[in-house]
Symmetry: C3
Subunit: 202 residues, 3 copies
Amino acid sequence: MLYTLDLFATVVFAITGALAASRKEMDILGFLWLGAAAGVGGGTLRDLILDQPVFWTVSPAALIASLVAAALMHFIAPIFQSRIKVIIWLDAFGMAFAAIAGTVKCIGLDTSGLVAVVLGVFTASAGGITRDLLAQEPSIILKRDIYVTAAATGATTVVLLHAFGLSLEVSSAIGFAVAIVLRGAAIAFGWTLPVFKSRPAR
Amino acid sequence: MLYTLDLFATVVFAITGALAASRKEMDILGFLWLGAAAGVGGGTLRDLILDQPVFWTVSPAALIASLVAAALMHFIAPIFQSRIKVIIWLDAFGMAFAAIAGTVKCIGLDTSGLVAVVLGVFTASAGGITRDLLAQEPSIILKRDIYVTAAATGATTVVLLHAFGLSLEVSSAIGFAVAIVLRGAAIAFGWTLPVFKSRPAR
Amino acid sequence: MLYTLDLFATVVFAITGALAASRKEMDILGFLWLGAAAGVGGGTLRDLILDQPVFWTVSPAALIASLVAAALMHFIAPIFQSRIKVIIWLDAFGMAFAAIAGTVKCIGLDTSGLVAVVLGVFTASAGGITRDLLAQEPSIILKRDIYVTAAATGATTVVLLHAFGLSLEVSSAIGFAVAIVLRGAAIAFGWTLPVFKSRPAR
């Protein structure tokens, strides 16, 4: 099941990459590049930092799924463009799962809890950040709609619950729920964190 | 010969990096930074993903060549700026060779064919993308002139021919020819792929 | 002492990341992301290229320091915004130390002198470049105020003095002094390198 969810997150991220390519009116290779970057970019950077084999060089299923999803989008993107709400919600699930999957991978490697949370957040956000950099669009970390925050809260929940003795499965499920509820509430109710305000000139 | 061609690709990419630095009117350290990033950036990321020693930490020739080429350009860039056609063609050869070299390196490491193609494309384009990001210019993947496409077609040709039993040398030579002809035709005749068009508002 | 100075460099870089976040009016997670990217980004990329364990996955002190500094800045950034001169000078010390620390790490791993200089410069500048990319601000390598140059000169000094037989400690101290004096002079007197000028149209 973990495996299916991981593929799901990859495909959703690849679709968001392809949609960015569609906004920039790229050709199909642009779709593939941005789809793959968004789909597997976060996990790639996570594996490099953890000094693990990059996951899609071992088992290419996620890479294939990213490329197929991006190629399909080249032809059917208009359907999704008019269903942007659907994408935002799918992306919320992708973010939540990527955060938990990254954190669980770290726990399995016995990293410290801090590293597990940081790399969970990194897995969930680095693909999107790479996508935004490549498409030269405003980065998700410049937005203020509780995206990275939800990933961080979910990842922290997993680490804490597991440290208190809950099984990894139960910790993950609760952490996932926390991330998705927080992100979902932000989407539904427009929640944001207070932002830093530059001092007005006096 | 492979080695000479590899150095050639590196130097050509370094020159494109230095030309980007010249357009931004950088100082010589900016030329060196962008030249090195464009020259060895793609191969560096490829080696990281393949979990191989980064090539220029083992044998610094390519790094030295990048830096020397970039430093030279600081003084002679105007000569090249008025010969932009020359650079575009040199860059086409650099792209074609980098794509084939990346693919051949993967085949030598027994990766799957898909990974070999993806990392061939990556070797050919990641240096240029890094250069464009650092110089804050529009990225090559945002352009539509069959650049990444030519790299992907050449890399795919190598993998397929080698899988059908041709020697790596012959496969590489044919793959290189395919990439350079496709890219050359795009330059000469202005070929592009059909791009995704956003649906007009109704 | 080396350890303390390393932490100092990290914290200073993290503060510059958080200040970039404050200019963009991000929320606290944006501060943490940019603070961590600027604080540990350069060293992370250096360790990846050197095929060493990423330093903060082994000992998280620098990561913790980055995050704490960035979080603090979310509340007290205005104090620093009005003391921009202080930050520029702290950043000069951070740059100088990061350059020397990166170079010394390479010498300890018996890399060639060129690689030691290049990765010293990389350690000193990659965190700032990542910060500028993520915050979508003009990159430090696009500026012309002898920043990368000072890092390169200091790193080269260390490598040369050590090659001539001085101890690593003495070489490092002199290299550090060279970097900080050069950068300090650039700040104090507005020194720049001659920049490449595009030829005027005739």
